[in-house]
Each structure stands twice: as C-alpha cells, then as structure tokens.
C-alpha cells in the first residue's frame, strides 16, 4: 500500500471538492449553540456602542476566518455598533482593511475614523493585550495609515479596553483566543466572543463551557452558521457543500485504507518497511 501512487488520491479529493463548487447542492445548515451564543451576545450590544475587533490571522487561514470576519462585521454594522479593529498578526491589517471596505463602506456606507478604525499591527503578543487593557493610545499611538489616534473621532473616550463593550477575536492560533482569555478576559473581565480555525476550536471548548467565552465559531462551519444567522449567505455557505463531500471522501479513505490493510494482511501480501 505504501507503493500506491498518492497522486490518485490527490486527484480524487480535488475533483470531489471542485464538483459542488461548480454545481452547488444547497444542503441545509444547522446552527450550533456555540455560534448562537456569539450571535446573541453581539445582538445585545446597544447601537452606538464600541467594540474591539481583534483580527489575529493572516492569509494562511483566510478561507476559514475571513467569512467569519465579514459576517460578524455585517452584524455589528447593521446594529450601528462602532468597531475598533487591530491585529497581532503581521499579515492581518490588509485583511481587516479588505473586510471593512467590503462590509462597512460598501454595504453600510460607514465612514473610516468615525464608525470604524483599523489600528493596524502591533508586535508583542500578550504584552500588547495586557497593555491595551491599560492604555490603548500608548500601545497604538497611530492607526494602520499613520494617523495619530487622537485625531480619529471613533477613538474619543476610548482609553482602555474597559471603555469598550466587548471583544470579538478572530484567531488563527498564537497569539489568539487562548491568550485573549488568559491575559484580558480573566484579568479585566471583558465579554469575549471568539471565532477560530477548526484546528484550534476543540482546544477552546473548555473556555466556552466555563463562560470565559460567550460564543465560539469553529472553522468554515462556524462561519456558515453565522452567515445563516445574519441572513447573508457568503463564501462559507457556498463552501459547505464542498466541505460535506470532502469529509465523506476522507471517511471513505479511512474505511477503504483499513479494508485493504486487512485484506493484504490476511493474504500475506503486506509489505513492511
């Protein structure tokens, strides 16, 4: 079996994922309580409030996390919530900019600096988180474009994270949700909702059960569920059919691999390395 050319498997998985993208099946999406937890917490934020949007990812996990960012920003701006966005991943600021442009500007006509701001990137990981809990302008003296934060109307009255109603974190790993829980939620007791890659989601379930996270969106499925809740199907919803068939293919591979293994073992044709 080790000699089996794996490129056939590559071809099969490629075609299986490609097919539903060309011909969507429109399978129904069910919302989990972790995702509705995040939705309900964001839904309760009064219009005019300000929240901190921690966009901690880069293009490596963009297909999973960017739809989440778009859906949550859609929800926030539809409620007239103001958003202070920033990144602890160097690759994050242009993605946040892209999401703000597509949602805040194009869909809701919101104004940069008044309704939302992209503070850009800051190095220092946990240090930055703790520092934001004390003094945001000292940590981010200027936004992504170099404008001093004092000149931005949305930053008026925002001294620390305590002046904001909630933190929404979209996380691809370290630094991300775990560190926001450890350094900010448990230290400053601010409401925290998180969206993360499917790889890291299982690790954060204890935080959801303990109430340290009010909601948790895991991977593309989490993003698709959120898109369903806000009523704006996007790329996550579109990808769920491909996701379904992809999962089925992997399960078939596991079963097939084991059947062949047993067969070869029984017939004594198994090659060992």
């Amino acid at each position: 079996m080790e000699r089996f050319d794996r490129r056939y498997i590559f071809l099969v998985i490629f075609l299986i994922v490609l097919f539903p993208l060309l011909m969507p099946l429109g399978l129904p999406i069910r919302v989990s309580k972790e995702v509705s937890g995040a939705y309900e917490a964001i839904d309760k934020i009064p219009p005019g409030s300000k929240i901190y949007f921690a966009c901690d990812y880069d293009p490596g996990s963009m297909p999973e996390l960017h739809p989440m960012t778009m859906a949550i920003l859609y929800h926030l701006f539809s409620h007239d919530v103001k958003v202070v966005g920033a990144c602890l991943w160097p690759g994050g600021p242009p993605l946040l900019e892209d999401a703000f442009n597509k949602v805040a500007v194009q869909k809701f006509g919101k104004k940069y600096g008044v309704d939302f701001v992209n503070l850009g990137y800051k190095e220092g990981r946990e240090v930055v988180m703790v520092s934001l809990g004390r003094d945001i302008p000292a940590t981010f003296p200027a936004d992504f474009y170099g404008t001093p934060v004092g000149q931005l109307p949305v930053m008026r009255g925002v001294r620390s994270l305590n002046d904001l109603d909630m933190i929404v974190n979209i996380s691809a790993g370290y630094p991300g949700t775990k560190e926001w829980v450890q350094q900010v939620q448990s230290r400053y007791h601010i409401t925290l909702a998180a969206g993360c890659t499917a790889v890291s989601a299982p690790e954060y379930y204890p935080y959801y059960q303990s109430g340290q996270l009010v909601g948790l969106l895991g991977g593309l499925a989490g993003a698709a569920e959120y898109e369903k809740l806000v009523g704006v199907p996007g790329t996550a919803t579109r990808g769920m059919d491909a996701q379904s068939l992809g999962h089925l293919a992997i399960i078939v591979f596991i079963v097939l691999g084991n059947v062949m293994y047993l067969y070869l073992k029984k017939t004594g044709r198994l090659t060992r390395r």
């Binding site: 080790e2 089996f4 794996r6 498997i9 590559f10 099969v12 998985i13 994922v17 399978l27 129904p28 999406i29 069910r30 989990s32 309580k33 880069d58 293009p59 490596g60 996990s61 297909p63 160097p90 690759g91 242009p94 900019e97 892209d98 442009n101 190095e123 220092g124 240090v127 930055v128 520092s131 004390r134 003094d135 000292a138 940590t139 992504f144 474009y145 230290r187 299982p202 690790e203 379930y205 204890p206 059960q209 895991g218 991977g219 499925a221 769920m240 059919d241 996701q243 379904s244 992809g246 999962h247 089925l248 293919a249 992997i250 399960i251 591979f253 596991i254 097939l256 691999g257 084991n258």
Partner: protein, 206 residues
Amino acid sequence: MKREVPLIITAIFGCFMVIDFFVPHPLVSSIGETLQQWAIIVVAFAYVLGVANIARISGQKISRRSRDWFYQFPLLAGLVFMLTVGVVWGVGERTLFNDFYLYAYSPMQGTMFSLLAFFIASAAFRAFRLRSFEAALLAIAAIIVMLGRVPVGTLMWDKLPVVSDWIMNVPQMAAKRAIMIGAALGAISTGLKIILGIERNYLGGE
C-alpha cells in the same frame, strides 16, 4: 556581565509582570506599562533580526553556489522589493505594497496551506489504521464529528449533529480541560524557574 546581566534583566522584567497583576498601585502600574512598551519595541527588533538572518543565509548560498542557489535571487528580489515599497510608499490600501500582499503573498500562503487537504486525504488512506480499541475510539469520534459538523451529516441522520455536539462539549471538553490544567501547571513552573534563574537554557552556551 555575560550571564549575570541577562539573568538580572529576566528577573526584573518577569517579576514586574507578576507584581503588576497583584499590586494595583499607580507607581507599579506606571513602571509595568513602561516595561511593556519597551518589550513591544524589542520584540519587533527580534523579527527584523530573523529576516536579516534569512537574507544572510540566502547571500551565503549564492556565494557558495549551494544546491538551487539561483532560487535565492527571486527570494532576495522579493524581500528587497516589498521592503522598499513598504518603507518608502507606505503600507495602506491602493499602494504597490498592498497589491503584492493581496495578489502574491496572500494566494501563495493560502495555497501552501491548502496543500494540506491533499496530504491529510492521503494520510487517511495510507496511515489511519484501526489496530486497537483506542484507535477505533479515535476513529469513531472523528467520523461522528466530521459528519456532525457538516450539512450532509444532518441529511444522513438528524440526531448526528446532537451526538457530535455532545462529544465536543462533554468527553472531548473534559479531556482538553485536563490537558489545559496539566499544561498550565507546566507553564507556571517553567515561568517561575526562568524568572528565578534556575532554568537558563535560553541563554545558550558559555
């Protein structure tokens, strides 16, 4: 000087991060904040050091004519290009820097990560063997979760997502919590050993 000074710096910064949490005095807060602002700056230099090292190794490969040395030219060209346009013309939207981020950096990184879809499929076929009860338990949990999280699972059996959610929120969560508690104890003890100067491996030799 060579070992004592860094150990003292480690102890001072480490202790202040801990004291800062327990002592809510304005003086302590002020010192803590200053030290944190310094740390932000120094860590940024560490990143630049890493990139300088990439450039140095790349240059060495060219000068030594190592294997595939000519691929170092596009590497260095990409580095110099992004650095120059980013530093000189800025990093905001509608800049050359942003264009190359969105249409070169972003697709290549995304595609490199997406290759893992193919390798995980290949591994599922060639390496996922149910040789023991524990392995079977792992496979069953994996299959239920894989199906329970996607629409096709609901079509197969409408209670499958409920079972999947239960696995995630109960046995899975309990085991992850145990790992979390164990890791926390480990991290706390390692942190204390570093601050107290018992653990010094990070200083290297000599």
